[in-house]
């Protein structure tokens, strides 16, 4: 293998839609209101579900936020169950669909099913274009999409967006990790799209193959989506690939992404506010929280004509920051740290608020650790955080104790919980390709949720 260092083109600043990305805030609110009014009228006309739900005479954005009921996942599932697959939820005839997607349902819950018309799908891809272009993806790039291409919407929209931008796009659905590493090198791939977990998995596989991706690949941008991605994980991916790592997040209920990280890296992701109204609410009072405080995302999508979402309670924990704090020029607010976790994952442990992703933020800062898992257990009647770390194969076993101690100390410093840190043998912990499941609540009594 040629080990010459590859010179990469750094991502450059640019806007996919300069007008709406840099629009003064007052005009942006005017645009949102225009779209919202049109969307509400469409929903009332086409959807029995929405007709029964939308209050009469909504007169402004503020009025909408004050009077429109919040929508939950359970209500969507229930509405779809009236006459599967979509029930009385859609706002236009499902026979106009060109695509169908649904959530995985792996947790035993019924899936949320959605469809897209040609119009909706073009919009969904355009939202991805907004994010990808903002991350610096350009027509001359060559992209590999490490994704299973199934019912789950995942990176489908990204694939179409890459094609639309003009990027040579390689779907690697059937490849194993070694095959993907070889493809990165053989095809001169410059953009990789996958979950953060899988990016680290590819980096590990490459290392096991004796390949240093940071030196030998041409990857200059890693597009991450599908999971919360703490700062330490971003840095680990950036180091492994020698590339810019752009975070993004979407959801099946939106058909696409609603936020992305620009190349200025303000420490989070811009909300695509031309097409989404995003509120951040206190989960207890349901009142808006100010900039800088943690709350739950409530999403209104202004993009779709088939499956519409007004004030959807996402359970995502976020911290909103004002647009002016980022130097990229967009007038769109942003979420500091992207998605911080899930409200239903939030627990109170010995008086401390705990979200599983906090452990990842600590552990990923240790390059000696390849993989980890965490759990909450009842030990001698006390809620206890147990973290299992798997050291890299080149870490001598006599250093395991000292490594576990350092990891434990750092968790105590950052999370304010004293963990038990166990060490697994190299290769002993499971690996994940899409949404990683690294946390278990094994406490013997019902969990105390926040």
């Amino acid at each position: 293998m040629d080990s010459a260092v590859v010179v990469r083109q750094p991502p450059e600043r640019g806007y996919w839609n300069p007008v709406t990305e840099t629009m003064p805030r007052e005009e942006l609110r005017g645009l949102q209101w225009h779209k919202l009014r049109t969307s509400l009228a469409h929903a009332r006309r086409g959807s029995p579900f929405w007709r029964a739900r939308i209050p009469d005479g909504i007169a402004s954005l503020d009025d909408y936020i004050a009077r429109m009921p919040i929508l939950t996942r359970e209500e969507i599932v229930s509405a779809e169950a009236t006459n599967p697959p979509y029930g009385d939820f859609p706002s236009c005839d499902p026979r106009l669909a060109i695509r169908h997607h649904q959530t995985s349902g792996t947790s035993g819950r019924p899936p949320v099913r959605t469809f897209d018309t040609a119009r909706d799908w073009a919009w969904a891809a355009d939202m991805w274009c907004t994010g990808l272009y903002g991350m610096g993806v350009r027509p001359y790039d060559r992209a590999a999409v490490a994704f299973g291409y199934g019912l789950f919407i995942g990176f489908w929209g990204l694939h179409y967006a890459l094609e639309k931008i003009g990027v040579a796009t390689i779907p690697t659905g059937s490849f194993d990790s070694e095959g993907r590493v070889r493809l990165l090198l053989e095809q001169g791939i410059t953009v990789l799209a996958c979950t953060p977990t899988y990016a680290l998995r590819l980096a590990l596989t490459a290392r096991q193959m004796g390949i240093d991706l940071a030196r030998e690949s041409e990857v200059r941008i890693v597009v991450c989506s599908g999971e919360p991605r703490p700062e330490a994980t971003k840095q680990a991916i950036a180091d492994a690939f020698g590339a810019f790592v752009g975070d993004s997040a979407g959801m099946t209920e939106a058909a696409t992404i609603f936020m992305f990280e620009c190349i200025e890296e303000p420490g989070g992701c811009h909300i695509i506010e031309s097409d989404f109204i995003e509120e951040v609410l206190d989960p207890d009072t349901l009142r808006p929280v100010p900039y800088g405080e943690t709350g739950v995302r409530v999403m209104t999508s202004l993009g779709r004509e088939g499956i519409q979402a007004f004030r959807y309670w996402t359970n995502d924990l976020v911290v909103k920051r004002p647009w002016s704090e980022c130097e990229c020029g967009r007038t769109w607010d942003w979420y500091e740290g992207g998605i911080r976790g899930r409200q239903d994952d939030m627990r109170k442990v010995r008086g401390v608020f705990f979200i599983p992703v906090m452990v990842e933020d600590v552990v990923r800062a240790f390059p000696e650790v390849d993989e980890f898992q965490s759990s909450l257990r009842t030990i001698e009647e006390l809620d206890t955080l147990v973290v299992r770390i798997e050291p890299r194969p080149d870490v001598p076993s006599e250093q395991y104790g000292e490594l576990a101690e350092r990891v434990g100390d750092q968790i105590k410093r950052q999370i304010s919980l004293t963990p038990i840190v166990e060490v697994a043998t190299p290769g002993g912990l499971p690996r994940f390709e899409m949404k990683a499941r690294r946390f278990q609540d094994e406490r013997s009594r019902p969990a105390t949720h926040a």
């Binding site: 990305e21 840099t22 469409h42 026979r95 106009l96 119009r119 355009d126 004509e305 007038t331």
Partner: protein
């Protein structure tokens, strides 16, 4: 502060809007399946472009002829 990026000229804006109107006609009324399908696919893309420029926002497919839904 926000920065200016490239903007459509008035002539480009008019062409884009005209293109959208023409495609919409073909998407609804053209009887040649291949042309109608192409118009609908193109219409969706042009609508996305207009939406991105803040020039048009329509939820239009529900208005298409009933025979398309059979």
């Amino acid at each position: 502060m926000s920065e200016a990026g490239p903007r459509l000229t008035p002539d480009e804006e008019q062409r884009l809007l005209r293109c959208y109107a023409d495609l919409k006609q073909l998407a609804v009324h053209c009887q040649v399946p291949s042309v109608r399908a192409a118009a609908r696919a193109a219409l969706a893309q042009v609508h996305a472009a207009l939406n991105g420029q803040g020039l048009a926002y329509e939820l239009y497919s529900a208005d298409w002829p009933e025979e398309d839904k059979l």
